[in-house]
């Protein structure tokens, strides 16, 4: 999943480490600091929940694929999660699972399999919820 939480945190460092030209100080720098602060807050959520969300999503996709193995002649050799549950490792497995899910959904739609179509749509809602990032109520000006 891009950008990853480590991309974000490295980016926060890089964008603040280089001093900008004079015309990019003042209001622009204040805006930049505000965005970096917000990214750091969201990165804290991702650091806390990101690995668990991926483990859960990967298991949920495997379950849907497994249920469809016989009906759709799927190969059933879905990749397992890595022994070390790093976000990068889980994302590599997630990418393979998501590709398989896209393929299954296309086949389901082509066949007009309404029950499985609904099942996949509900899975999408769950996946999106697992990955959600919650903004705090930031006041307008």
């Amino acid at each position: 999943m891009t950008p990853s939480v480590s991309d974000i945190l490295v980016g926060n460092f890089l964008c603040m480490a280089e001093p900008g030209p004079p015309e990019q100080q003042g209001e622009f720098m204040a805006g930049k600091v505000a965005v970096v602060a917000l990214l750091s807050l969201l990165a804290a959520q991702e650091a806390e929940r990101g690995a668990a969300a991926r483990v859960t999503e990967n298991a949920a996709i495997r379950e849907v694929l497994s249920e469809a193995t016989a009906d759709y002649a799927l190969s059933a050799d879905w990749p397992a999660d890595p022994a070390e549950l790093t976000i990068g490792g889980l994302d590599r497995v997630n990418a393979a699972l998501r590709l398989a899910l896209i393929g299954l959904h296309e086949a389901v739609e082509a066949r007009g399999d309404a029950a499985r179509h609904d099942r996949i749509l509900r899975l999408y809602a769950r996946m999106a919820d697992l990955r959600r990032l919650d903004l705090p109520p930031l006041p307008g000006r």
Binding site: T2, P3, I8, C15, F28, H105, R131, R132
Partner: protein
Amino acid sequence: MSLTERLEAYLSRIWSTPVTVSDLSRIPGGASRETYRFAAVAEGQAHPLILRRDPPGSLIETDRNLEYLAFESFHDCLPVPRPVAMEPEGAELERPFFIMERVEGGAAASPFTVVPYGEHARTIGEQFFRILGTIARADPTDLPLARVAERPAPEDCWRIALDHWTKVIEDDQQHPQPIVWAAIRALRRRPPPPAQAVRVVHGDYRTGNFLHDGAGKILAILDWEMVHLGDPLEDLGWAMDPLWGHFEVDKVGGMLPRDEALALWREVSGLEVDEPALAWWSLFNAVKGQAIWTSAAKEYRDGGFKDPVLAISGWYTARRHDQILAEALLRMEGLS
């Protein structure tokens, strides 16, 4: 050579008089153009101006000719700044840019804030949807924009728009996105009716892309970089996307109840709102959003992770649009 010196050299050349530039300052927000405010002094007179310059990397690849001509098309009838100059090859500034007059005393709301318009939400919302109705009412034939904008046939508007943003996702996707692909297939299975009229589509008409004076008046409609001709329901769907709702589910754009917004748009535009067609354009806009955020994520990586605006776009807003898309797909099937 500093940017100030480059601006002085450019303006002195095109105005054929010595120009000095002062108070050059970059404005935060936006990742498709670098935006600066400055004052140009020529023959004793100060001109408050805005520079919009292409960045080395961009949130979206857009046509600055169209953007410039959109300002030219609407500055005399809507709160839109007057354009001053454009250089598609960059001239003294090395990267493509255009300059427009600066509108003083305005603020743009961040879409990530709550209650940004306070007690003026209704007043601003009424202007917001009236202005959008005015854009949708305009016959593009005689507008400067028509000189370069392609005019699609009414029955092709949806396909051109969907093909464009689908290709962006195809090109820039770095991690498989099953939700947006399901939405794209759903849109192709159930296309909308032909556009009732081919009109100017602002392309990014939403809260945060206009200046207001803090007392209930819209001062300037900005960010025309995605302007094109197409189905005017496209803008309506984007303006009402939940991403821009400031977390208020009973108001669109955090300003007005949906029915009131649509009534105003109908009255001013002289066009109808076909609800199934609007539902199509609403789902389309969530796809379009996801395409923009997909590009932002790629650009963030390719650009060395240095622009935090690309980071927030490619990360938070992408996740939020996945939620919006998933909910819309469930609704479409009567599952929520």
